[in-house]
Amino acid sequence: MSAFEKPQIIAHIQKGLNYTVFDCKWVPCSAKFVTMGNFARGTGVVQLYEIQHGDLKLLREIEKAKPIKCGTFGATSLQQRYLATGDFAGNLHIWNLEAPEIPVYSVKGHKEIINTIDGVGGLGIGEGAPEIVTGSRDGTVKVWDPRQKDDPVANMEPVQGENKRDCWTVAFGNAYNQEERVVCAGYDNGDIKLFDLRNMSLRWETNIKNGVCSLEFDRKDISMNKLVATSLEGKFHVFDMRTQHPTKGFASVSEKAHKSTVWQVRHLPQNRELFLTAGGTGSLHLWKYEYPIQRSKKDSEGVEMGVAGSVSLLQNVTLSTQPISSLDWSPDKRGLCICSSFDQMVRVLIVTKLHKI
């Protein structure tokens, strides 16, 4: 692709905040987004911004007792648009942003900080019941249904006596009909575990040698196609999830980038082969995945095994000197995304020419 046809990443709006921001998410069907973090005084904050006249307007600021680490709109309906958040004390709350004084749902889910959260079944994505999954430093991964109080619907925890490892990231996938669903969890020692929620079993596990910072399926609501796992030491792996070999597991291709921790990966909602990775040196890389000629082949014993494709870099930019901790593509506008970084900035980016790829 010549330089003129390559997608360009434009920093459309940049805003400095007066708190540490951990996560940012678009509010579906709108030009608004929320940022979550903590003030220096140790309280949590959620701010609601809207894009107006080429700048950001603060619509609402909500302060809560405990710092908020992560949030998602994934399990809410399009009309309600409730935000589910996980905080430093292990509480899971679901907030109605129009009336944020009392949470719609609240549970002390974990003993330690909730590092990561994901939702499925809302917003018209994923068949079946809306569910939220949280992963925590206490080593457990719990799946919640907002209709069931106090108890999770599924709990993935280490066996008694085993060392518990921090769970750093979780992702839902394979939600193509009402029964099927998988949860993939990444831990700080490099473990990736794939739990099948329909038969409540561990479907696959592997270890990528470095702590897993972020996991994402390319689309939550189709039969598992690809899984991207990013890790420390500047590597990420793309697994082809269509063919599982009984011993070798899933085929994968790995790539080195960013020269430091790859903090986040986000697939473009409008094209599952494109994804953006955010790095510890404040850089963003836009990648495209290409499928191999044959996605599966038979090994020497005649058992099917997958063949991984290849990843190519489309564009890269450096936005800051501090790690970019979170990224989110807008589900409504192709190419619009927000990112937040540890230099207390939130940026709205436009990526051009994505429809041509």
Binding site: C29, A31, D151, N177, M200
Partner: protein, 403 residues
């Protein structure tokens, strides 16, 4: 000459980074060097400016590296984000106005849609029940124990080799190759619902849902999963039938060679939008494969009337004509004979109609003598043409003497 041949006296004559001999930082050396890894190291050293600032040498090295290994990681540069200056004035205005119009549009929708519905309808009744409560899943840290590999079939000692049957093994291998390696997990296809319940959804939600399913179908099509693509297009149509979804499904059915299903999808499109070019082209293809060549011709001509430069139409037309000649029809023919290599280009599409560039050659570049003459005689009244078709080649050749 490699780097190892040069003696390194404690950093004398070598660079600090990577210990490359200083002599290698030279135009002539870089030109001759074809070791990509070594070139990458040289490039890193030059770029870092440790040994001095040599812009032309750095650029030369970059070009050489790009020529040898365009995908090399060393070529990646840290750059700041693009700004208005990276685009032409026209492009920038376009990007700017695009985002502004989207923002105002979505704000309007937001106000209209969400503020009207103050009381939200109870959607909970439609949801499936809560998953079987409180199931615990204990995960041990042990890896799966690797089962001992089964005994190899290859014979190991002389006695076994005597029993080895070469012919049988060869035929077994041949059979394995003949089997198509199909993606294994097709069982999920039967588990996907073909119809989506749309009770209680507003028009806007239905459009969103239908578009999502269609996009999923497009993605499956682009990665070669045509059955999956058909499934998603069917789902999209069950929510909200649209011309694009029917058209795309027709294309996917063509790839699966389900001519009849493709035909009915094209019919549906033409019912909703008569004169849709893609539908006409695809219907012509289904006719061609079902041997209804006359109808195929009519469709193709309709297309060419609207778009005389349509490459796909012209190529399909040539194929149809060739097929017609090979069979013995009594129908009239109109030919726009042009000499072209026949290539079938299948496009995948989204609403923007982009090409995915998946082409496969329909290796028929054979030009028979009669097709040559058709091209030559295109102005002859068609009763003569039909007569010519029935004659043998030798008679056509003899006729040519009269003209």
């Amino acid at each position: 000459m490699t780097a190892k041949d040069y003696p390194s006296f404690w950093g004398f004559g070598t660079t600090k980074m990577f210990k490359i001999p200083v002599e290698h930082l030279d135009f002539k050396y870089i030109e001759k060097c074809s070791d990509v890894k070594h070139l990458e190291k040289i490039f890193c050293v030059l770029r870092s400016g440790e040994e001095g600032y040599y812009p032309e040498l750095t650029e030369f090295c970059e070009k050489r590296l790009k020529g040898l290994a365009p995908e090399s990681r060393a070529l990646r540069k840290d750059k700041p984000p693009a700004t208005a200056s990276s685009f032409t004035a026209e492009e920038w205005r376009h990007i700017d106005s695009d985002i502004k119009s989207w923002v105002s549009e979505i704000k309007k929708e937001d106000e209209v849609y969400f503020h009207e519905t103050e009381t939200f309808p109870a959607m909970e009744d439609n949801l499936p029940p809560v998953r079987g409560s409180n199931s615990r899943l204990h995960v041990s840290k042990e890896k799966y124990s690797n089962s001992r590999p089964t005994k190899k079939k290859i014979p190991r000692d002389y006695a076994e080799w005597d029993k080895f049957d070469v012919e049988k093994e060869c035929s077994k291998i041949d059979e394995d190759y003949k089997e198509k390696t199909v993606v294994n997990n097709k069982s999920y296809l039967s588990k996907i619902e073909t119809r989506i319940g749309t009770a209680g959804l507003t028009e806007k939600e239905k459009t969103c849902l239908a578009t999502r399913e269609k996009e999923k179908g497009n993605e499956a099509f682009n990665s070669g999963d045509y059955e999956e693509a058909v499934m998603y297009y069917t789902r999209s149509i069950s929510v909200l039938p649209t011309v694009v979804a029917y058209n795309n499904r027709a294309q996917a059915e063509l790839k699966l060679q389900n001519w009849n299903s493709a035909f009915w999808d094209c019919e549906k499109v033409l019912e909703l939008e008569p004169g849709n070019i893609k539908a006409l082209l695809r219907r012509a293809t289904t006719y061609k494969h079902q041997n209804k060549l006359q109808e195929a011709l009519e469709d193709l001509n309709k297309v060419l009337n609207v778009e005389p430069d349509n490459e796909l139409a012209k190529k399909t037309l040539l194929e149809v004509e060739r097929d017609m000649k090979n069979s013995e029809p009594a129908s009239k023919t109109q030919t726009k004979g042009t000499r072209m290599v026949i290539q079938e280009v299948e496009n995948s599409e989204d609403e923007g109609g982009k090409d995915s560039g998946r082409t496969h050659k329909d290796g028929s570049g054979v030009k028979s003598k009669s097709s040559l003459l058709f091209w030559f005689f295109k102005n002859i009244p068609f009763y003569m043409m039909s007569w010519l078709k029935f004659s043998s080649t030798t008679r056509i050749l003899s006729l040519s003497n009269f003209f």
